[in-house]
Amino acid sequence: MSSSVISVISRFLEEYNSSTSTKLKVVDAYLLYILLTGALQFLYCLLVGTFPFNSFLSGFISCVGSFILAVCLRIQINPQNKAEFLSTSPERAFADFLFAHTVLHLVAINFVG
């Protein structure tokens, strides 16, 4: 049973390494970073408690928001999805990504206290 899981995972990783372009891998690395940061913040909150709650929320929501925006960017710049995003060029996607991040960070900094 466990061997099949391991074989599935290794197969998946192989496919991933071969079929994804470098640009997408860069974005994926960024996604992993954001994920880890958010998870560690959540772990701290579980261990120590929610004081100060607004700071925790601000940091965590910032991570979540960044993750979502990065996922959106990845979807939009993936050449395999080009058919669905005819009007959106990768540059446009990146510009949207930056703008949304500006708003997100503004709100997060406001809330962190």
Partner: protein, 637 residues
């Protein structure tokens, strides 16, 4: 057949009468009215020496409305003649009206003046000017064209649609000939009455104030009397107007006092409505020493209605609902209506009187409800004091004490004995038993100043009993033995002679006497212990080591990211040093720096301001840069 018809008719009449009586019972009576001192004050205000022609007008005409003539009429007349300015319609109005109020004072006017007065009656003058001109002409005895006045007034009313103007129009119309068509102007009374504000069902007044309301009342009745048509005011409305106009007992200005005098005169002497004011002389209390119930029955100017018949329709006891009187008349003596109520031998207490004033069809609010108190003197009979043994083995010794003497010997009661007191409270004159509201027994320790009060209760035969069980009650006394002075306190609203009687001295011996603690007088006014303010404790924080560890931990994925990117071969070799890309990166870095500064120093508004500036620069640069990149990309493919 006829008999049954007439029977039905009788039943209908009776039910209608009952219905009408029931309605009348709910009618409003004046709650605010002028008493004699108020009328005198009004007269005093109006009798002030004149400062100018206008104040002379208010004083002279105001006093004449109160039925009083001005102090020195010759003086007044010469003052008026000296101050009249023939070129001013207003001055002529004041002079003419004032001179007419003074007997044998006549003002002569030239033909020119008369013509100028006639000229003032036109659609181009204000209602006030028309009123003054018409009143002056009328008071001077000069002829005027009533129909012209009516048409001028009608035209002006439609232009000046305010309360004061229409009131003046009504007043003007009352000076015109009865043959003129005053119908439309008469309808204005009803329209104006609709504009009155009803305040709580008690007051009815214009929002323009007391003066406007009072002038409206006098104008409405003047015009109604003139055309002999009842004004469209309901009885309750008349009483509400009375309440509004006479609620103010001191007046700010001469014109206000004049308007009140004018309204009072109108309400006390017109053909249709005459409000009646019924009030008791002093408190409405009768007793054996004062057996007469006296009432003032007056009009609004505090003049007694000598020709009226005042009748008690019914007088019922509030407690027992028994009717004592029915249809009993009052007798008039020296302007006061009297009734000897004690002659009906009422028991002490409160009685509800329903009084009716008849004799004039114009009377308004002539059914009044009055609460009358019958008071009496109380006598204490059969005051018996005794000390009873608890096991009743030894016979009781009863001592009788007569009011107001004090019992000679002290009574001694210890824990095996009870001290008992019985007495009766009766009406001094009739001997009827009474149960006053307050019957207290007070024991006062002379030495310690302590006092304990008990209530004496009557039994079913109205015999009052008080028993003191020494053992049971020792907590009230703090177990302090000693001599206590015994007082009986009797009081009630209907008693003329409340009683505080030191009946006897009682020596109480308590078991288990503790060390006599001084009685702590409850002093409420000493400083209380100080309360220390507890500031809000700061929240508990985790240890710094833990926080620092996690800070490092949270920042560590960034390192991982850099490593991963390095491994993937991400690089910045394609970086073109075009001005737009440089500017873009600088701007972007500035925005991130701004976020940090926002966190530490700024507020939202300042941040938004800076963000707008930096953001727009970055946007333009970025747009350019990305466009260039896009062009490069499409060229490559």
């Amino acid at each position: 057949m006829e008999a049954s018809g007439s029977f039905l008719h009788a039943i209908l009449n009776l039910s209608l009468l009952v219905f009408v009586l029931a309605l009348e019972a709910q009618a409003l009576t004046p709650s605010h009215y002028l008493v004699a001192s108020d009328v005198d004050r009004l007269q005093a205000v109006l009798s002030q020496p004149f400062t100018d022609l206008k104040s002379a007008y208010f004083s002279v005409v105001g006093l004449s409305k109160l039925g009083v003539s001005v102090a020195d009429s010759n003086d007044a007349c010469s003052f008026i003649k000296a101050n009249v300015d023939s070129s001013s319609i207003e001055a002529l109005f004041y002079a003419a009206e004032a001179s007419q109020a003074i007997s044998s004072c006549e003002i002569h006017v030239s033909n020119e003046t008369r013509d100028s007065l006639h000229a003032a009656v036109s659609e181009d003058s204000t209602v006030s000017q028309i009123h003054q001109a018409v009143s002056a002409l009328s008071s001077l005895g000069l002829p005027l064209a009533s129909q012209e006045v009516v048409s001028a007034l009608k035209a002006r009313i439609s232009k000046e649609d305010n309360v004061v103007a229409i009131t003046l129009a009504l007043q003007t119309a009352s000076r015109l000939s009865q043959q003129a068509e005053l119908g439309e102007i008469l309808e204005e009374i009803e329209d104006l009455a609709a504009r009155l504000d009803d305040l709580g069902g008690v007051y009815l007044q214009f929002e323009e104030g007391l003066e406007a309301t009072a002038l409206f009342v006098s104008a409405a009745y003047a015009l109604s009397d003139h055309v002999d048509m009842e004004p469209p005011l309901k009885e309750d409305q008349v009483i509400q107007l009375v309440n509004s106009i006479f609620s103010k007992k001191s007046w700010d200005s001469l014109s206000e006092a004049f308007s009140v005098a004018s309204a009072a005169a109108a309400l006390s002497n017109n053909r249709f409505h005459k409000p009646v004011v019924v009030s008791a002389v002093g408190p409405a209390t009768v007793s054996h020493s004062h057996p007469l119930l006296q009432l003032h029955v007056t009009d609004v100017l505090c003049q007694p209605l000598s020709s009226a018949n005042v009748l008690v329709e019914s007088a019922t006891s509030v407690a027992s609902k028994a009717a004592i009187l029915s249809q009993t008349p009052f007798t008039l003596r020296d302007g006061i209506f009297e009734l000897n109520f004690m002659a009906s031998k009422p028991a002490s207490g409160y009685y509800q009187f329903s009084v009716a004033v008849t004799g004039d069809s114009r009377l308004v609010a002539n059914h009044v409800e009055l609460k009358v108190k019958v008071s009496t003197k109380v006598a204490i009979n059969n005051m018996d004091l005794s000390v009873v043994d608890k096991d009743q083995s030894i016979g009781t010794k009863t001592t009788r004490v007569e009011y107001p003497n004090k019992g000679k010997a002290s009574f001694i009661a210890d824990s095996h004995q009870n001290f008992a007191m019985t007495f009766q409270l009766v009406d001094e004159t009739t001997g009827v038993e009474l149960t006053p509201h307050q019957t207290f027994v007070r024991l006062h320790n002379q030495k310690t100043g302590q006092e304990v009060v008990f209530v004496a209760e009557p039994d079913s035969k109205n015999l009052y009993k008080f028993e003191l069980d020494t053992a049971e009650r020792k907590t009230e006394f703090d177990s302090i033995s000693g001599t206590y002075a015994l007082y009986l306190m009797v009081g009630d609203a209907t008693l003329e002679n409340p009683v505080l009687w030191n009946v006897a001295d009682v020596v109480l011996k308590f078991p288990d006497e503790e060390a006599p603690s001084t009685v702590q007088s409850k002093n409420l006014y000493v400083p209380k212990p100080e309360i220390q303010h507890l500031f809000r404790e700061p929240e508990k924080r985790p240890p710094t080591v833990l926080s620092n560890t996690f800070t490092a931990l949270v920042l560590s994925p960034f390192l991982l990211l850099l490593i991963l990117w390095f491994k993937l071969g991400a690089n910045i070799s394609n970086f073109s040093f075009s001005p737009s890309s440089v500017l873009f990166h600088v701007g972007h870095a500035a925005m991130l720096g701004l976020m940090y500064v926002y966190w530490t120093h700024l507020n939202m508004f300042q941040t938004l301001k800076y963000l707008a500036i930096i953001g727009s620069l970055t946007f333009l640069a970025g747009n350019r840069m990305l466009a260039q990149k896009a062009v490069k990309r499409t060229h490559e493919h």
